[in-house]
Subunit: 200 residues, 2 copies
Amino acid sequence: MLSRQYIVAVTTWGLFDTHTIRYTFGMTDDFDAFDTLFLVEVEDDDGAGAQTLSFSRSPTVLLTFAANRFTRAAAKTYAQKFGIGAVDWRMLVMLTRKPGATVTESANTIGIDKGAISRCIARLEKRGLATKGELHANGRSRGWWLTAEGRKLHGEVLREALDRQRILLDGYSEEEIAQFTDLLRRFLVNLDALTEKTSG
Amino acid sequence: MLSRQYIVAVTTWGLFDTHTIRYTFGMTDDFDAFDTLFLVEVEDDDGAGAQTLSFSRSPTVLLTFAANRFTRAAAKTYAQKFGIGAVDWRMLVMLTRKPGATVTESANTIGIDKGAISRCIARLEKRGLATKGELHANGRSRGWWLTAEGRKLHGEVLREALDRQRILLDGYSEEEIAQFTDLLRRFLVNLDALTEKTSG
DNA sequence: GATTCGATGTTGTCACGTCAATATATTGTT
DNA sequence: AACAATATATTGACGTGACAACATCGAATC
């Protein structure tokens, strides 16, 4: 049966609290079996029952929670140790991966707004970490490259990033890491489908 | 061998582009075998080689990317359809799960700043979605409850959230979903260890 | 009983990402 | 040749979360 998969861990940060929560493996409302996997039944004060998202069993909830905490902690560390933000770091990786990338290319790849990239690259240039190339034939876009100093900083932050990732993946087998990336990649593909459906 | 796990998908949004990228399964720098799993070797313009984070193989990169896109898309939809933000929605879930929760409780559970929660709950009250209870014995904290209208909105958004999640988990078996949540939960536990180590 | 301390919530400030508007140059159209 | 359409980057306005400072109240200490 499925229920054994859903042992609830009680940790220090409260997401997995079990007070007043009973899990519903039977049907109470008109949710179907699939949706029921992610619901909890809660007992209202006046005895009325209600169903809502389970934090600990919904991948989307866990995903956003994990990513937020990870980004926040990383941003803090990078700011303290290297004086750069989370986007700056991703941009260093971007320009290492694709020297000569443009603003739009970077925005699409990193997945944040081109306005933010524009400001980010201006910061990097001001700090002497990146330099611009000649204008392209289209007269508007241009490539960007890391300077020697930019490459040096990239190397330093990379060490830190790998150290952090090593801690975060502690206890994961290589196979589990491969599963993790596979699951996340498929999630991203599905996200594409979702946004197309919504915006189209 | 591992390499078969790391087939690179080429999608529309460019994260998995393979131009100028060759994967390094051998050692070139002084990174150890574990770190090498997450690195790509890129060819610089002047022929010099450099290593950097692989977007498509690093769980942390994929995680933040997926979560950012998910949150953004969800926030947009919720704002358009229901006039609430992403945090408002989480707060609706919170107050359904734990009627009478306080600001600090909610902040810890949802994982965002108590200041943001304070403003969020003020918004909800102003819109008639939540009401406050009496002050607790400590004279500062108080519980918060959803109004009938708040519960109604919660139900509507829940349908939408489940619909979206169904699309996002399309193609996942039940076992894979359980694996996904398990991997994410362990990631969160490791995050606890990391932040304790850093801030302590 | 006065003072200190801890817990909780609120508010101000800052950083940053999103969206929309704008600027500018190229390409295509008539 | 003039004009419209397109692509790209920049800039301003806005919303929101993080962090810190502050306010407030009960409890503990002396």
